[in-house]
């Protein structure tokens, strides 16, 4: 599903974010990306979603090489990837429901079918009662769950989460990890960047540990 071969990522200015990474994540696998902040976890996720391109080496996602992917092919790739951001990236000019509708509108789904799916996704993360709320009125945990609902609403094959429990207390964190676990059970490939020890011990899975851009 996801394959890294001798991947280097150097940012303009000379900072080397990733060094000689080679690993594979198979379909339906759940993997943690661990390491201190600045170790390259976010950069690695950005490479998978084609937000950044590797400086050298190859990144294969569902058979497509991110290093040489055409600009026009990126939207189709991203529709297969659910992105969950640390800063949520929600839109505050519309309701929670409309935020979740956005990927479906982009995908060109029928409106009635979309509405049904959006409500199902909101229900899944426990926010159905708040569908009309503006995201700015939601708590941090609720915003994170709304971001998850938006990421899963068009049923992507891959979910990428960057510190999804980052600034949440442990109850919220557990709740979110349970949601992820249920996706894992239905065959979604999950890559979760985290440095929360309690998460790693309570929900064990393979760990890719990064240190200064290199795999340990």
């Amino acid at each position: 599903m996801i394959q890294f071969n001798q991947v280097y990522k150097r940012y303009p200015g000379g900072h080397e974010a990733l060094k000689d990474l080679s690993f594979e994540i198979t379909e339906g696998e759940m993997v943690y990306l661990t390491g201190h902040s600045g170790a390259g976890k976010s950069t690695l996720l950005k490479l998978i979603a084609a937000i950044e391109r590797p400086t050298s080496g190859s990144v294969l996602v569902k058979g497509q090489n991110i290093r040489s992917i055409k600009r026009e092919a990126i939207p189709a790739l991203r529709r297969n990837i659910g992105l969950i951001f640390q800063d949520h990236k929600l839109l505050f000019d519309r309701s929670a429901f409309d935020n979740v509708m956005l990927p479906l509108q982009i995908g060109g789904f029928d409106h009635r079918e979309s509405a049904k799916r959006a409500r199902a996704a909101l229900d899944k993360v426990g926010l159905l009662a708040r569908e009309k709320a503006n995201p700015i009125s939601l708590s941090g945990g609720e915003q994170q769950r709304l971001c998850i609902a938006r990421a899963i609403v068009n049923r992507p094959a891959i979910l990428l989460a960057d510190e999804p429990t980052g600034n949440l207390d442990s109850d919220y964190a557990n709740e979110i990890m349970h949601i992820f676990k249920s996706f894992h059970q239905v065959g979604v490939t999950l890559v979760i960047a985290t440095h929360a020890e309690n998460v790693l011990t309570q929900f064990p899975a393979r760990e890719l540990h990064l240190k200064q851009g290199a795999l340990l």
């Binding site: 937000i51 939207p75 991203r78 992105l83 839109l91 409106h111």
Partner: protein
């Protein structure tokens, strides 16, 4: 089907967005409307003047009056000679009796004419030249003037030529104005859309992150430009039509005094459709330039 619904959804959002900032929208629409109404108004004036000259004789002709007292045989011979001239297309004969009767019937001069015991009018030929440009007409007139049998040679339509030249100048001026103000309309839309893209940066970024294609992101901006252009066109139509009504009301008083029939023609259906279509297209074009220019600069990081 779902794509039609999608287009309708975008159109609805666009209209809501226009209504959300009523002052800015009104201002933009007015600026576009005023800018467009200038060349359109010029066009209306040109068309009205042109139709005025159309009512009058627009085929250039030369009238030649034969000396009074010339015999019938001689008059016929002159006619044949005129017909043989290589520069002349066609010749109409106006016998003095016919001209006299016509004059008696047609004008206020009838009373004066009725008192005349005999016909003072000469026989005349109306000559239609082959070449109708001013120089050819003038040289033909000079040639005919040199004939001894003619009392008077009159080039009737010199003023039509002059008016045509003025109209041609007017048409060029309107075309230049239209070109410049079309450019202004594109520039106005370009800037409006640029500001919109800047204020909606987050939305564009998020949309790109969750797999929106360029055309999906571009669409609402193009619709916005199109709608704004169309509204501007409607404003221009209202400005021009209102002005025509107002001016015609005033002309009505003025022209009844001078017994003339001049009035400004309202915009025809075809002209109106062209105006609205063109303004909508220009709005779309301005938006397209703006989006092409600015959208690629927004990439998620």
């Amino acid at each position: 089907m779902s794509s039609l619904i999608e287009h309708l959804r975008v159109l609805r959002t666009t209209l809501l967005r226009l209504l959300l900032t009523p002052n800015a929208t009104l201002l933009n629409v007015l600026i576009i409307g005023i800018a467009l109404s200038l060349p359109v108004g010029g066009y209306v004036i040109l068309k009205s003047v042109q139709s005025l000259t159309g009512q009058l004789t627009s085929t250039p002709q030369i009238s030649v009056f034969i000396k009074v007292g010339t015999g019938t045989g001689e008059v016929t011979r002159i006619g044949d000679k005129l017909k043989q001239n290589a520069n002349i297309e066609r010749v109409d004969f106006v016998p003095r009796d016919v001209a006299f009767k016509k004059l008696q019937q047609s004008t206020e001069l009838a009373e004066v004419m009725g008192d005349l015991s005999q016909n003072p009018l000469p026989d005349a030929y109306i000559v239609y030249p082959k070449a109708t440009d001013a120089t050819a007409m003038e040289s033909l007139r000079d040639e005919l003037k040199s004939w001894s049998q003619f009392d008077h040679v009159q080039l009737d339509s010199a003023w039509v030529h002059r008016l045509e030249a003025v109209l041609g100048f007017g048409r060029l001026a309107v075309a230049i104005l239209a070109g410049l103000l079309s450019f202004a309309l594109i520039a106005i839309t370009f800037n409006t859309i640029r500001l919109q893209i800047l204020t909606r940066r987050d939305e564009i970024e998020v949309a790109k992150l969750i797999g929106a294609t360029d055309s999906f992101i571009r669409r609402p901006f193009l619709y916005f430009g199109l709608t704004q252009g169309l509204l501007g066109g409607i404003a221009a139509w209202l400005i021009v039509s209102g002005s025509v009504l107002l001016l015609n009301h005033y002309f009505g008083d003025l022209t009844s005094v001078y017994a003339s029939e001049f009035s400004l023609l309202p915009l025809s259906l075809a002209d109106s459709v062209t105006l609205l279509g063109f303004s909508a297209y220009l709005g779309w074009l301005g938006a397209w330039f703006s989006v092409s220019q600015h959208l690629w600069q927004i990439e998620p990081r």
